[in-house]
Structure formats: C-alpha cells, structure tokens
Symmetry: C2
Subunit: 430 residues, 2 copies
C-alpha cells in the first residue's frame, strides 16, 4: 500500500485513465455497486448494528442515531440512487464550444472530470454510497472520510463498493480510497499537488477549519440562513403554510428558513396570524422591537446582528420591512446567500427580488426546502455551494466536472498571426 501520500499520488496519476473510461463502463460499475450492496445486505446490517450499539451506549443524540441507522429502506434508497445515476446522461465528454479559429485550426471545449476529490462527510453511511456513485459517474477519483460514529458501516460499505468496481476490468485500480482518522485528513489537506478539490460537509466551524488549513480548493457552504419575504400582495394562507413548512419540515437542514420578513402594510393583520400558526407548530418566535409592536413574540432582541443566526431548530426570527427593496437589503446583509423566497402575487416585485437578492436560490411562492440536488432533478448532490465560483447551489454531476480546450491544427504557428500576415476568422460550429 505505501504511505497515504504515495497512495494519493498514484491515484492522481490514475485519474486521466479513469477520465478516459467509457460511459458504458462507468455505468457498468454503478450497476455492479448496486448489485453488490443488495447481495451483502446482512453483512452491512451487522456492521451497522455494532455502530448503533456503540452510539446508543455513548448517548448519541436521537437525531444523529436516526441518521446513523442503515436499514432496508436506506439500502433500497442507495441501490435505487445508484441505478438512477447509471441511467443519467454522461456528464463528461460534452463539447460545449466548437469554433474554427482559422482554416484548419479548430478549437473545442470538452467537459472532463475534475480529477481527485476528497469528500469529508457526516455520520450518514448512505452519504458514502451517494458520493461514491456521483464520483464514479463523473469519472472522478474519490477519497472518502465519513463520520467516526459510522466507522464499521462505512468500512463494510466501502469494501463492498470497491470490490464491485474492481470487477469492471476497464476501471483502473486505486480510484477510490477511504480514510478513517483525523490525522489522515490533516495529511490529505497538505497534498495540494495531488488533490484537486476538497468537499467538506459539516458544521460551519468545521468547514472554516478546513478552508484555513489547506491550499487545495474547497467547495462548501458555510451557513444556511434562509428567508421568506411575505410581500404586500401575498396570498396569506399560502405564506403561512410555506413559512411553517420551511421552518418545521426538517429544521436541522441548511435550507430551512431562519427569518420571515413581513411587508409593513400587512403586518398588523398578518404577523399575529403567522405567529399563531408557528406557535401551533411548536416554533418559538423571536424578533426586534419593531416586529414585537405587531404581535406577541416569545423573545425580543435589540441587536440587529441577531438576524444573522442559524437556529437549526424550532426557533424563527421575524422582522417587518417597508417593502421588497428593504427585504432584499436585509437578506443580502444578514443572509448567507443560500436560498430565499418571496411570497407575492406581484410579478414586478418578484422580478426585483430575483434580480436583487444575491443568493444561489431565489424562489417565488414556494418553500426554501426545495433547494436540494434530488429535488432539482440532479439525481443526488455532493453538497450545496454558497460560493459563486465553479458551482452554486446544489452540486450534482455537473458540479463535479471541469473542461479542457482541444485545439487541432495543421502546422499553425503564432508568428504569422502576430505579424498580421494571417488573421483569425472565428466561426462557431455549435
């Protein structure tokens, strides 16, 4: 095996070979992965039972234990997900630009895998399967590090997947490895010549720690401070049900709403209704003095910086704004550029909101919880990016690709073009 550094370096050298594997062979590997998981059901469940036992005796939180559990329904979701991936169009080898620069000098831009991707994920064993599948479909080598609570399950899942992949002769060796200790992550963060991208999933502090400690590009989202803005012309019943859904349907998710902004002109009637609907759903409601002037809140704060909080639980902030302009300003100032929704019947207000809110997702008349790779039809996601470079929003197969420029000539040198004896004659062919 050699050291981790050597193993990753071999992976880097194998990456172009994986990039050259045909879509059929990559799809064959995905099918083999799905079949192997189903065939090894009992072995996976036994390993998961060990992790569950350890988690329960160490007093792990209920929500985490739920994520850790790998049962028949999760197994089914995993095999189904791999099958869906195998049926999606190939994300690599697409010609996205084809231009004749001059006679006999043709430029093409072709999508390629990124290369070697390190993904650090939380204690959900199904994440290991999803990420392995996304990387295989997109022709990327994967370094996988899962949460330590799922150590046994991940170990078994990884061995099953790796063995399945090795049955497809065209796939090079060494295209997926698993690491399990924190010291190994620290080592990987130093391999900026060999690792092309790190995708950390986890707490804000964890993502920031990764970013501060590596020269490798990092794709991740820090916060999920999402807003619902209820405009003057909103259907208030719709606004209430969307606000409740966006808060309670899965409060720990990054696309859950943290703040509802209400247009001043409807605040005196709507805000008390909203607070009452939230209370019925066991949501604690906070806000500044201005908001408290319209409805009874559970907590009133003075510092507007409180609007920058991500609750991740059944707590929500409310604020009253003068209109869509102030709503956009509030969102750009206190939000995290993730996903924000306007509830309105007014097309002009919606257009203004779409253009002025600087977020990965700008929605109208629906819940912020739709911001998710599966719900966007991407098959699955490796994460949600709040950065604006490379990939923004849910990151599926397309976000795992790069491209290269292929230029085919017939002996052309730059000299003649620089001296003006020949000139370019751009003709797009796509």
């Amino acid at each position: 095996m050699g050291t981790l550094r050597e193993t990753v370096h071999e992976m880097k050298l194998a990456a172009p070979a994986l990039a050259a594997v045909s879509a059929d062979d990559r799809n064959r590997a995905l099918s083999a992965m799905a079949k192997a998981l189903a065939d090894n059901r009992e072995r996976i469940f036994a390993a998961n039972a060990e992790d569950m036992k350890a988690a329960e005796s160490s007093g792990l939180k209920e929500a985490l234990i739920k994520r850790l559990k790998f049962d028949d329904s999760k197994l089914m979701a995993c095999t189904e997900g791999l099958k869906q991936l195998s049926e999606l169009p190939d994300p690599i080898g697409h010609v996205t630009l084809e231009r004749e620069l001059d006679d006999g000098l043709v430029l093409k831009r072709v999508t390629t895998p990124i290369g070697v991707i390190g993904v650090i994920f939380e204690a959900r064993p199904d994440a290991l399967v999803q990420i392995s599948g996304l990387c295989m479909k997109s022709g990327n080598c994967a370094i996988l590090k899962g949460g330590k609570e799922a150590e046994n399950t991940n170990g078994v899942l990884f061995e099953i997947l790796r063995t399945a992949v090795s049955e497809v002769a065209a796939i090079p060796d060494n295209v997926m490895i698993r690491v399990s200790s924190h010291s190994e992550i620290d080592e990987i963060l130093k391999l900026d010549g060999d690792v092309d991208l790190i995708i950390p999933r986890g707490s804000n502090a964890f993502v920031k720690h990764i970013m501060d400690n590596t020269a490798i590009p990092v794709m991740g989202h820090a916060d999920g401070i999402c807003h619902i803005y209820v405009d003057a012309s909103a259907d208030t019943e719709m606004a209430k049900s969307i606000a409740v859904d966006a808060k309670i349907q899965y409060p720990a998710a990054c696309n859950a709403a943290e703040t509802v902004l209400v247009n001043e002109s409807i605040a005196s009637s709507f805000l008390p209704e909203l607070v009452s609907a939230l209370h019925d759903a066991n949501v604690k409601v906070r806000g500044d003095k201005k908001a408290a002037g319209y409805a009874g809140l559970d907590e009133v704060f003075e510092d507007p910086g409180e609007y920058r909080r991500e609750y991740g639980e059944l707590t929500l902030a409310v604020a009253v704004v003068s209109g869509v302009k102030e709503a956009c300003e509030h969102i750009n100032r206190y939000g995290s550029h993730h996903t924000d929704s306007i509830i309105t019947a007014d097309d002009k207000a919606a257009q203004y909101f779409f253009s002025m809110v600087d977020s990965a997702g700008v929605y109208r008349n629906c819940s912020t919880r739709f911001s998710d790779g599966f719900r966007y039809g991407f098959g699955a996601e490796v994460g949600i990016s709040t950065g604006k470079l490379h990939a923004r929003g849910p990151v599926g197969l397309e976000g795992l690709t790069s491209y290269k420029y292929i230029l085919e000539g017939s002996g052309q040198c730059v000299k003649e073009y620089a001296e003006g004896t020949r000139s370019f004659n751009f003709r797009d062919r796509l």
Copy 2:
C-alpha cells in the same frame, strides 16, 4: 469617501444593482469608455511620458519598458477592444437550465455576474482598460490595482473611464475603484465578506503569496510549463517550425514551450535537426544524458526535476521518450497543466494525448502560443487559469459569470413530497 473597507462594502451592496443593469446600458458604458479614451489622448500620453521617464532613469528592463509604453497603437487596441466587447453577446441573464419540477413549479438557472472582483495586474496600462471593460460587460464591480511603474498612466486612465461610466445614468456609482499601494492590497485581501474573487497576475511567487494570505477565492495560474511532443509519425518540418515558434515568438509568455519531447524511434534523425534549428534561433538547449546521446546539447543535467523549470527566455529542454504514453506521463508529472501540443499524423496517438494529458489546453499540430483569450475569440482575457474549478484556460467573459437558481411555484411546500403524497415529475424545457 470613507475608509477602503467602507468603500468596498458599499460596492458589495451596489453589486446586485449593477447586475440588474440592462445589456444596452452596459454596452453604452463601454462605448462611452472607448470615446473618452480617444478624446483624452494627449492627457494619457503626457501621464505615460512621466512613467516612462521614471522607468528609464530607474533602469527598468527593456522588456518592461516596452510593456509600460502607451502609444497610439496601444490606445487604438484599447478602444477597438472596448468596441468589440460592446458587440459581443451578453454573458449574463442566459437561462442554462429550465425544468418543470412538478405542475406549476418551474426551476431556471440563470447566469449572473460574480459580484466584486479584485484584479491585481502588472505594469501594462492597457491591462487596466481591458479588465475594466471585461468587468463592465459582465456586470461585475472591479477593484483595480496595477503595477506601480504605471502609476501615473493608470491614474489618468482610471479617472477617464470612471467619468465615462458615470455618464450612463443607469450604472450605479461605486462600481469601479482603483487602489495603488501594497498596504491597500493587504487590506482588500481581508475583506472576504465583500470581495467575491481575486485575480492576481504576476510571478508564481506573487500568486502564491496572495493565495496564502486571503480567504477570498483566488483565480490564477502559477506556472506555465508547456510541452511539445513530437510523435513517431510527425511531419518533422512542421514539428521544427512549431517548436521554434512556441519557444521564440514571445519567450516570456506563460504559453511558451519549455520542453520538447521526442519519440525515440525518430530521435537519432530528428533531434539533431531540431537542436540545429533552435540554435539558429539563438535558443540554448538543455537535457538529460539520454537526450544528449542523440544530439549535442549546450548543457546536460542529471536531476530529472530540472524538467520542471519555466525558463521564460531563450532556453529549452529536450527529452527522449518511448512513445505517446511516456510523453503523457512526463507532461503530467513535470508540467503545470497549462497547454501541451502533440505533433503527429496518427489520429489514435492524438486521441490518447487529448484524453491522457491533464492540461487546460491539449493541442495537435499547432503552437502552444495559441492559448490566449484573444486567439480563442473571447474578445480579451483577465488571465489564464490552470485550476480546474470554475474556469480553466483563458478566462474571458464567461469565466466572470456565476449563476443563480430561480424557482417559481404556486404555494408548494416540501412536506407533501417528503411524505410521498406528491412526487416530482421532471420535464426539461430547454
């Protein structure tokens, strides 16, 4: 004005307003910029004369003085470039995905500007004009920092451009600023909440220094170690002229060749010819012992790590490889993933090279010097990216855009989909 931090923060808040400016108004600003430059010809030349005088008395290198000079031909190139930019299609507002997720729930992905971009460039005053133009066309706010040698010229150019832009009423204030000291760069590197992207142009050490000192994403290329591989079936006359062009046409450019690899089967006849052609062009030729066995070299080295050198001058390394496979391995190992060219009549060898060489540009039968935004028909470039994320290769308007997801619904909540009472029904409309 306030402090730099405040100015940049205001710029960040103005960024969505610039993003919302129509293409017509942005093109109007570009035309105003071109006209203002032509109208202020004498003022620009006077400022440049001061910079030239200071440069000459301080003993600046000939090559740098040539770059610093801003004369009629450079002015013409600048105004022509701005005019071309104004005629290019709008890079923002493109719908690149349109998908009905379910009845009445429609997802669109629309291209947007990135936001606030800081560009640090060398002592070419025309770079200030090009970058300002690219940022205006793509709706991005620009923080510009040019080389100190061009201080007077840049100051005058910037004032002219800013005044011209301010004549277009629709463009918000504060969308371009110029900074001139190193301490201001250090301050900007700390503004990771307000600056979306830094593009440094300059030496490897400088780019690395920027990357090590900011949490803002950095897009830049480090090295330019480009290769020519002369395959067994190459037209040797073509190979010689391309190798000479790629080395001597502009040796300081990052897309100039540093190493020529020669197939063993033709090395005994071709390598002496090549060395002779390079000598005729005043190029010093180095290589390892194996290469020296085929032709008289000016210098022989033992350490293969010498193949990782970027000369930037009339020096070139040669090596002998067993075939296209070893050529690709050499390039991936010692190159910088910039641009590499195979000279061959063999389609299979070319396909292998295109797929296995992990570089932004993979060429066949032409010079590596074509790797350039203007030559690709991008109008201009802000730089060349050897990273694989976001933009790879020459970065023009498209590389200065991001996107957002717009989702329009009619009251949809996630609850029903999560509970299975409704399901997605993805239908692509593009």
